[in-house]
Symmetry: C2
Subunit: 143 residues, 2 copies
């Protein structure tokens, strides 16, 4: 590693053995849906992403009717297991957690590509976000 | 919110005001490249992702010659700004951070889709990962 100390991201980084990264939500999902909502319904629903108002300038240059990645915290996820039944369906053989996209992961982060429909100040309307009401949003990126 | 307490991910979650998520790397990138390496070179390079050995069973079911998402920590990133020049090029007009994919973000997380070439126990060979040597890897998902 040749980078100078000034280039290191100090917050949240410890020694390699106990290294950690501390993240804070930039906003939250509002769509009235719960963990019992069928996945197909989640994907069809128009969700709001409500950013912290002070972050709204960070949306400048994002265009409506484009594709966007939403990175979020699976905040209701139970503890990870290395082998899991896909979609929790016991009739399907277990697979490794990294071959699945479900929420019970070593780091409970979800990444979904959505359709960005509209931007109203600090609120984004998106379709295709498979996240329930109240989900903490961690990042947005152009797809 | 109707979920029972047992469904909440307690670790790292505080009150809504100071809510935080604490993540730990699952492995690290090895490719000998630095932040001065041209981006085009990064994208062409075959990188190793070395997982913690105890997580190797989580790879079961991932297939070589497939596409995979790599979620990683931009561990060398300087502090975020809401408006930035794309690629740090002052000749290009500033845009909002959420309309860019660069490393200086409120939560310094990168997401890149790569080509998974080969899996050898806890080591993956991938092409297309725009991350430097030593980058902490947070998650892997099928693309």
């Amino acid at each position: 590693m040749t980078a100078s100390d000034s280039q290191r991201a100090v917050p949240g980084c410890g020694t390699p053995e106990n290294e950690e990264l501390i993240l804070h939500p930039i906003g939250r999902v509002e769509n009235g849906l719960s963990i019992s909502t069928p996945r197909a319904t989640l994907k069809e629903t128009v969700s709001k992403i409500v950013l912290k108002p002070e972050l709204a300038p960070g949306l400048d240059g994002l265009e409506a009717e484009s594709r966007m990645l939403v990175v979020f915290h699976f905040h209701l996820a139970e503890e990870s297991e290395l082998h899991q039944h896909p979609r929790g369906d016991p009739s399907r053989p277990r697979r490794g957690v990294f071959a699945l996209r479900g929420p019970r992961r070593p780091n409970p982060i979800g990444v979904t590509e959505v359709e960005l429909l509209e931007i109203r100040e600090n609120v984004l309307l998106v379709r295709g976000l498979d996240a329930v009401d109240g989900t903490p949003v961690l990042d947005l990126k152009p797809a």
